[in-house]
Structures are given as structure tokens and as C-alpha cells.
Amino acid sequence: MIPDTLVDISRLQFAFTALVHFLFVPLTLGLSLLLVVMESLYVKTGRQIYKDMTRFWGKLFAINFAMGVVTGLTMEFQFGTNWAYYSHYVGDIFGVPLAIEGMMAFFLESTFIGLFFFGWDRLSRRKHLMVTVLVALGSNLSALWILIANGWMQHPVASFFNPETMRMELSAFWPLILNHVAQIKFLHTLSAGYLTGAVFVLGISSWYLLKGRDIEFARRSFVVAAACGTVVALGTVMLGDESGYYVAEHQPSKMAAIEAEWHTEKAPAAFTLVGMIDDEKKQTDYAIKIPYALGLIATRSTDGVVPGVHNLVAENAQRIRDGLIAYALLPAMRDRTATDIERARFEAHVDNLGYALLLKKYTDDPQHASDSMIAHAAEDTVPKVAPLFWTFRVMVLIGFLLVLLLMYALVTARRGSAWNKRWFLRLAVWAIPLPFIGVELGWFVAEYGRQPWAIYEVLPTGLAVSSLHVGDVQASLTAFVLMYAALFAVELFLMFKYARLGPSALHTGRYHFEGGRRDA
């Protein structure tokens, strides 16, 4: 059997490296969009201030982008180094969007990024804008393809198990690409990234306004961020709701855990706003409930049922037993010695093969698993409730708060009253970390909520790991933590330094610390 400690530490390393990577990616996405908007304004109006804005926010973009590249490299290697069985088992499908991401997105982004910084004097305005657009396009396409890959992990369409090669194989291209779970995930993640960029620019601009520096520069940046931010904040929340709807449809175990729905309720189920979650006793104490709300939100109907944890566990115990029928026939299918009847039987039960594989956590020989092992494996099919219940709620709360923040910013900026509301400007500065926290929580809800599966209902996470020694992964995780912490500290230092310096960092002679005019 694969040691639990190996699985746990491999997961910890993946979670750590992915979460750190995901601190930089949303800001890259968000700033790339704002850079396109700012530079378009420059090309359209010819006003120097928009060029300065593009170049200054571009400097902060660069500091962030470098860390995105560093932490992104890890992700490309890590499936092979730490999730070798996963790579073998689903590489035929998962590798496709990843490779296309490389060809279509990474090259675009990385080839033109240099020209963005070094091409100002070598390109016409329009050509430089085109370069900026291509960098942003590359970043966006990269998000698209990685989320198509992730969407497939959540909702594995367009694929089948091939017993001869002992792996999943692709059956069609377009359903993989048009997987609606992936599409919604992409849009939700993308808008959250734009939101991160908008709040970042809004907050730093507010800080300049509070300091009374580079007023014109700060106001214009504030307006661009508020205008773009309002749209994408609303989009993030609406697409989040859409994403939740598909979770209800395709991942009932994730849904039950997020909503602490212990027992299937009569439709439409009540929504638990908050409560004391007890994962041991499988109950929620002191719950504050809103009648009917969960059923209406999750199924968008009055008669749709949201299955509860207990009911799912019972169902899944049956699916494990069912999967064992396919499991028993694996050797004959692999060696092509199966009779037609056996073949038909295998085909009838192969969809639950993944459930039988859950038993590998408890025994090397699932065919002789005891009833208690099956019961344990069935319990495993629903992730822990408390972490999901709370992370989800905080994420949603942050989403709503940011909608309010940005709408207020937009309205008051239009009226011209925002500049005098010091309390609001201060609030905007303090809001900078919020979207980062929000996207990290979103990642957690999506990925922890998928447990115990690496590929939902297909490949258990515990089986997906490489055959490494626990010590190897302990050493590598330690190295990752130290290295990332050091580089992150440097990144933050530079980010703060340059954000504080403001557009004076451009050395144009037009800004605050250069003794030039206060406004450009």
C-alpha cells in the first residue's frame, strides 16, 4: 500500500506550491487587462499621462510577473515529479490542454513581454499597443487552457478507461474543450483575476491620493480601476453562482460539504447561513437557516433535491461494490482473455472502477476488502465539511464586499466626491489583500472539495502519487518553503518600494519625488 504520510506530504507540497503560484497569477491577469486599457487610452488620446500610467503599472506588473514565472515552472514539472501515476493514468487527456497552453499561450506571453518593456523606443504606438494586447492575450489563453485541464479533473468528460494501457484515454476533442464546467471555471477565475488587478490599482492610487501626491496620475488610475473593476466584480459573483450550480449538478459530494447538508432534505432545501460544524458527529449545531434558499440556488428549481452527506455515503458504498466487479475483470481485460460476457460485464461497471480504487487506501487487494473497509472508503467520498463550509462563505463574503467597494468607488469618482472621502480611500488601501485571500479560498474550495479524487470519480488522490520516499518529499517541501519565502520576501520588498515611489520611478522628471510639476 502507498503510505498515507507520502500522500499527505505530496498533497501539502502541491497545495503550497499551487497556492503560492496563485498569488501571482490573478494579478498578472488583472494588470495585463488594465495595461491594455491604459495604453489604448494613450494611443487614442495621445496624452503622455496614459503612457506613464502604462509604464508605471507595467513596472509593478513586471515584479509580479517574474514570480509568476518562477512558481509556474514548478507546476509544469510537478505532475511528473510528484504525481507520476496521475501523469501516466490521465496524461493522454490532461497533457493535451497543457501542451496546447504552451504552444498557444506561454510563447505568446513570454516572447512579447520583453518587447513590452524594451520596445517603447523601437515600435510605433500602435505596434506597441499590439504587443501589450498579445501579452494580455497570452495570459488569458493560459488561464483558459489550464482551466480546461482543471475542468476535466472536476468533470471528466470525453474520455474512457482503456484496460490494455491501464489508463484513461481521450475519446473526443471538442467536448473536452467545450466542457461547460471548464468554461464557467475559466470565466469565474478570469474575472476574479481582473478584480484582483482592479483592487490593486485602486488601492495604490488611493494611497497616493491620501498622500496628496501625483494627484492627476492617481485619479486617472483610480477611475480606470473602478470602471473595469465594477464590471468584473459583478461578473465574478455572478459566474461564481453559475459555477456553484454546476457543482450541484456534477459534484454532489462537494456541494453537500460546502453547504453542510448532512441529510437529504425535502425540496427545496434550506440554506445554512452559519453554524457550528461538527465533522465527527456529522451535524451542525446552532445553525441559522434560510428556508428553501439552498434548493433554489443550487438546483434553480423548487423540486430539485440536494443530496446529503449520509445519503451520498450510502450510495457510494454501493458504487464501490459495483466498481469491484469491473476491478475483478481487469487482468482478463488487460490480457485480452476476457470472454464476451465478461467484456460486457466490465463495460457495464467500469464507470465505478474509480470507486473500487478507493479501497487501495485500505488494502492491496480490493477484491477481498472487508465490509468495514468498504464502509470507510465510502465515508471518504465526502470531503471534510468544516473547512469547505467556512472557506466558501468567506470567499463569497469577500466577493460581495468587493462589489460594494468598487461600485461605490465608481459612483463617487464620477461625481468627483471620491477624492475627498479619506475614510473611503483608506478603506480602498486596506482592501488590497482581500481579492488575494478570495482567490486562494476559491482554489481551496475547488480542489479540497474534489477530494478524495484527483480526477473526480475516476482516480483517487492517494493513488496518483509518485513512488517516492517520504523523506524525499519532506526535503523538497522544505526547500520549496525556504526558497519561496526568500523570493517572496524580496518580491514584496521591491513591490512596496516601487509602489511607494510611484510614477517617479519612471524618471521622467514629471512626478512628485523628482521636484517636477505635481501633475502631468
Binding site: 513586471a62 515584479i63 510577473f65 514570480m67 514565472v69 518562477v70 515552472l73 509544469e76 514539472f77 505532475f79 511528473g80 515529479t81 510528484n82 507520476a84 501515476y85 501523469s87 501516466h88 496524461g91 493522454d92 490532461f94 497533457g95 493535451v96 497543457l98 501542451a99 496546447i100 504552451g102 504552444m103 506561454f106 510563447f107 513570454s110 516572447t111 512579447f112 513581454i113 520583453g114 518587447l115 518593456f117 524594451f118 520596445g119 517603447w120 523601437r122 482503456n162 490494455e164 494501457t165 491501464m166 489508463r167 484515454e169 481521450l170 487482468p331 488487460r334 509518485s466 513512488s467 524525499d472 526547500a479 526558497m483 518580491e491 521591491l494 518600494k497 516601487y498 519612471l506 524618471h507
Partner: protein
């Protein structure tokens, strides 16, 4: 859709193209990193080197990312067994590669000698370590690495980082460092002038001679000492991918088999040596031609290793019969076909816009430029 056998052959070629593309395109960036302490002596000179590759190294590195992604998609079993097996070595490359994005971008943002010296050192490591370790990895592939599969196709690896550091592998690592230094030096011949260019010329000559000598030594060792792998009998090239059911033997000089059978393959090692000789010939008189010659040398040397091993891509030293071939370790035909279509569309596009970017950024990087644009350049 072409048949499975053809698709498999095409993908062997495509992955070779991507990896050779990496060696040629990012190879000179690694080489410039390696040469940083030797060719540049003052801060301004170091910035000349850094800015010579600064705007383009990131795009070049994508050849590696795409290479790894393509191996994942086209040869999942190879990606799984090699990356997890050579765990420590791979992470060493990864950590060294970490130093480049931040090194380039952060180094000149603070004007403090210690800060800059630390990043210069980081950029040196970010150049030489990947060059060395990737060479060592290929040196081990040529000897086979200790892995096998169980019946569920889970791979197991018996060996650690220290086993990779055997004499032949170290020689291969040195070949890699020498040839990429040569390639980096030749890029500097094109992009710099004056005293930096003079030092780059010396570095180019030294590394070209070393490349030839070390490459010939490795070749002699392959012929007389290293046990190559050979497939006994034939295998069904259309069959579903599985590492079982073939017989493989090992014999000294076995890797020369392909060259004796198909003499045209000698073109690869000939390009390796010929390109390096041309580098010595062209030098300062024709820097552009000299860079092209070193690109041929790098491509020739990398291709030599690939052709020697064909059809093997990851030989197993402990279970030779479970070695992975480009015939029996691939993805399904549909996946290979779809990815081929994607490659046909995107690779020409990539080549076109990369060429355009290099054209826009053409011209020498000088100390004066750096001083004039102190805050805008790396």
C-alpha cells in the same frame, strides 16, 4: 488521421525538434549566464550581458516548458518515470531555473553592490546548473536508469542523486556546459562590442575546442565502454502502448548500431564537430555566421544522442525489457493526432513572431546605452 506507427514516428521527431529547439534557443541564455563572471568584469559590463539576453530569454525558456508539456502529452509514461525517478536532479534544475526570472528583473532595481553581486551569482547558477544537470541526465539516459513498472503501470525507481553522478554522465554534463558556453559566447559576439566582445571571442574559442575534445571523448566511450540497448526481434508498432512484451539486450557499442545501419545519421555528429570548427574559423570576422555555426553544433550534438538511442527514449538499466520506446510509451492515436494538428498550426506562428521580436530588438547592447537608460533596462 495517419496510422499509429506514423504518428509515433512524427512525435519522436517533434519532441526532438522541441528539445533541440530548447538547446539552441535557450542554450545561449544558459551559456551567457555561465560566462557572466568570466566575460564581464564591471557592473556596466555585466548589465551589457544581462541586457543582451534580457528581453528574449523568457520566450526562449518556453521551449523547455513546451518540451516538458509535449513529453507529458505524447509520452506520458516517460514523463512519469523520468521526472519522478530523477526527482532530486530535476528539482535541482528547477531551483536553478527559479533564479533567472527574478535575477533578470530584480537585479538592477536596487543600486547596491552587495544586492547586485548576489543576483549576479544567482544568474550564474541559473545558467550553469541547468546546463550541467541536463547534460548529466542525458549521460544517464544513455546508460539506462534503474526503473521498472508493476502490472498497474506504476513506475518504481531504485537509485538516488549520487548514482546519477557517475563518470560518463559527468562527461556528458561537461559536453553540455562547453557547447552551451560556446553558443552563449557566440551570441555575445553578435550583441556586444569592444572589450566585452573580445573576451567573448576568447571564451568562444576555448569552449569550441573543449566541445570538440569532450564530445569526441564521449563518442569514444560510447563505442568502447558504454553498454547500449538493442531490441531483439520486432514489435508491433501499431499496438496499444505497454512497456511489457518485448526483449531487450545490452551490449557494448550498442548505441552505434543505428549509425552503422543508416550512415546518413553521421550527419549529426559531423554537424556537432563541424559547427564547432566553423566557430573557430569565423570568430570576429563573421559573428552572425559564427552564431549559426554554433547553433548547428548544439543541434548536432543533441541530435546525436537522440539518434543513437532510437527507438529507445528511456532505457531501464535494471529491467531492460521494460525500457520505454517511442513505439510503446506513447499516448493514444487520437491524442497524438490532435496535438500534431496543434503543432502544425502553432509552431510556424511561434517561429514567425519570435523572429520578428529578435528583428525589432536587433543591434548591439553597449555600456553607453545602459548608462543612458539606467532605469528602464535590466
Amino acid at each position: 488521421m495517419p496510422d499509429y506507427e506514423t504518428l509515433r514516428l512524427i512525435w519522436w521527431i517533434l519532441i526532438a525538434v522541441l528539445l533541440v529547439g530548447y538547446a539552441v534557443m535557450d542554450g545561449f541564455d544558459l551559456g551567457v549566464g555561465t560566462l557572466l563572471p568570466f566575460v564581464a568584469r564591471t557592473d556596466a559590463e555585466r548589465r551589457v550581458l544581462i541586457n543582451a539576453i534580457g528581453p528574449t530569454w523568457d520566450g526562449n525558456q518556453v521551449w523547455l516548458i513546451l518540451g516538458a508539456g509535449a513529453v507529458f502529452a505524447a509520452w506520458p509514461a516517460v514523463y512519469a518515470a523520468a521526472f519522478s525517478g530523477m526527482y532530486a536532479a530535476l528539482l535541482l534544475v528547477l531551483f536553478a531555473l527559479f533564479l533567472r526570472p527574478v535575477g533578470f528583473d530584480y537585479r538592477s532595481k536596487i543600486d547596491h553592490p552587495l544586492w547586485r553581486r548576489i543576483w549576479d551569482y544567482a544568474l550564474f547558477l541559473g545558467g550553469i546548473v541547468p546546463a550541467l544537470v541536463m547534460g548529466i541526465a542525458f549521460g544517464n539516459f544513455l546508460q539506462g536508469v534503474p526503473f521498472h513498472f508493476d502490472e498497474t503501470l506504476r513506475s518504481f525507481y531504485e537509485g538516488g542523486l549520487m548514482d546519477l553522478l557517475n563518470p560518463f554522465a559527468l562527461l556528458a554534463g561537461l559536453v553540455s556546459v562547453a557547447m552551451l558556453s560556446m553558443h552563449g559566447a557566440n551570441f555575445l559576439l553578435v550583441k556586444t562590442e569592444g572589450v566585452v566582445q573580445q573576451r567573448a571571442l576568447r571564451a568562444s574559442r576555448i569552449s569550441a575546442v573543449l566541445t570538440i575534445v569532450l564530445f569526441v571523448c564521449a563518442g569514444a566511450w560510447i563505442i568502447n565502454g558504454i553498454e547500449g540497448f538493442r531490441l531483439l526481434g520486432s514489435i508491433d508498432m501499431q499496438a496499444a502502448s505497454s512497456p511489457f512484451g518485448k526483449t531487450v539486450v545490452r551490449e557494448v557499442g550498442g548505441w552505434m548500431h543505428n549509425f552503422y545501419e543508416h550512415p546518413w545519421m553521421w550527419a549529426a555528429p559531423a554537424a556537432g564537430i563541424g559547427g564547432s570548427l566553423l566557430v573557430l574559423l569565423f570568430g570576429m570576422r563573421r559573428p552572425g555566421m559564427s552564431w549559426i555555426a554554433s547553433a548547428f553544433a548544439v543541434a548536432g550534438i543533441a541530435t546525436t544522442a537522440g539518434l543513437a538511442m532510437f527507438p529507445f527514449v528511456l532505457p531501464s538499466s535494471t529491467h531492460p525489457s521494460q525500457s520505454l520506446l517511442m513505439w510503446d510509451a506513447t499516448s493514444s492515436p487520437l491524442t497524438l493526432w490532435l496535438m500534431l494538428l496543434a503543432a502544425i498550426i502553432f509552431i510556424p506562428l511561434i517561429l514567425m513572431y519570435t523572429a520578428w521580436v529578435f528583428r525589432v530588438l536587433r543591434g548591439k547592447v553597449t555600456v553607453e546605452q545602459i548608462q543612458q537608460n539606467d532605469h528602464a533596462v535590466y
